[in-house]
């Protein structure tokens, strides 16, 4: 079996980093920064997810094909978010034509 063996020391470091990020996201949530709070917490969540996927889930040690599959799921999700939110949050930009209602 040639699957790469990751030394446990790396797992412990990854785990510590995740706990630090958890503390960080919790503390930062209580500092008033307006919309930046939500942005920060989601960014940290993505960072944590990346660390888990790359190290705990071994994607860092695998070939490119695996990365394509990993990115595919996120890519379709990105389509869902961009297109639908693009619709909802730009609806108020243009006034609705009332002339049709007459």
């Amino acid at each position: 079996m040639s699957s790469e063996i990751v030394p446990p020391a790396i797992y412990f470091r990854v785990w510590a980093a995740l706990l630090i990020l958890l503390g960080l996201t919790t503390v930062l949530a209580y500092i008033p920064m307006g919309w930046f709070n939500a942005f920060l917490s989601v960014t940290i969540a993505f960072a944590k997810a990346m660390i888990i996927v790359l190290f705990f889930m071994h994607v860092r040690y695998k070939g490119r094909l695996v990365r394509v599959f990993v990115c595919a799921g996120v890519f379709w999700l990105a389509i869902l978010f961009t297109l639908t939110l693009g619709d909802y949050f730009t609806r108020s930009w243009l006034p609705a034509p009332t002339v049709w209602l007459r």
């Binding site: 996201t25 939500a38 969540a45 705990f56 889930m57």
Partner: protein, 213 residues
């Protein structure tokens, strides 16, 4: 005892890659499964922001935070279990699998305590929801998202627990070795994925503009 390579594969390496790849395809569908609900949540959070903020502030950051930490610890255990399998240390593998299951159960226990406190606070939609604020139906919508997301996650955890116990049983029966441990590796992927989902749920549900108010 040692399993031969299935006839459609050249060697263990290829068989392992196929299993690993296939699991990622499944996980991609899981991303969309949770992603769709998270998307709907994002949309309504944008529309009914005040109500979602109020709803989120009724949740306990302490319990949610502890649960996130608990889940991260279980992921560490799972990673160590896979490592033990790779080294062919079967006893260690069984111990780590069971430890992961125990820590996972702690998560579900804390989650259950949270659910019970929502029940006591009359915050369960469809059962006893009551809110004295300006827009109770929108706070209720937040709680619906909360229960759907955490509930789906908890179901995944239950499936994961069953999986861990079966893996431990198979390991005890000598089904795994340093050459063949694909089910442990694949099970690990599943467990870590469930962890990743919670990593997103925690800030989205518990930390909605905590600085406000």
């Amino acid at each position: 005892m040692a399993r031969p390579v299935e006839h459609q594969f050249d060697d263990f390496e290829q068989q392992h890659e196929a299993a690993y790849q296939g699991m990622w395809i499944f996980l991609a569908t899981e991303v969309l499964f949770f992603g769709a609900v998270i998307f709907a949540y994002t949309l309504y959070r944008g529309i009914y922001y005040r109500a979602f903020l109020e709803g989120s502030h009724d949740l306990s950051v302490l319990m949610g935070g502890i649960n996130t930490g608990v889940l991260l610890c279980s992921s560490l255990c799972m990673a160590l279990a896979v490592h033990a399998a790779q080294r062919g240390r079967i006893n260690q593998l069984i111990v780590f699998l069971l430890a992961t299951a125990v820590i996972g159960s702690v998560f579900l226990g804390i989650k259950g305590m949270e659910y019970y406190s929502h029940y006591k606070d009359h915050k369960v939609p469809g059962l006893n929801f009551f809110d004295s604020g300006d827009e109770p139906q929108h706070v209720e919508l937040f709680m619906i998202f909360y229960f759907v997301l955490t509930g789906m996650h908890a179901v995944h955890m239950l499936i994961g627990l069953g999986m861990l116990l079966i893996l431990a049983l198979l390991a005890a029966r000598g089904k795994f070795s340093a050459a063949y441990y694909d089910p442990v590796d694949i099970g690990g992927l599943y467990w870590h994925f469930v962890d990743v989902v919670w990593v997103f749920l925690f800030p989205l549900l518990y930390l909605v503009d905590r600085a406000a108010k």
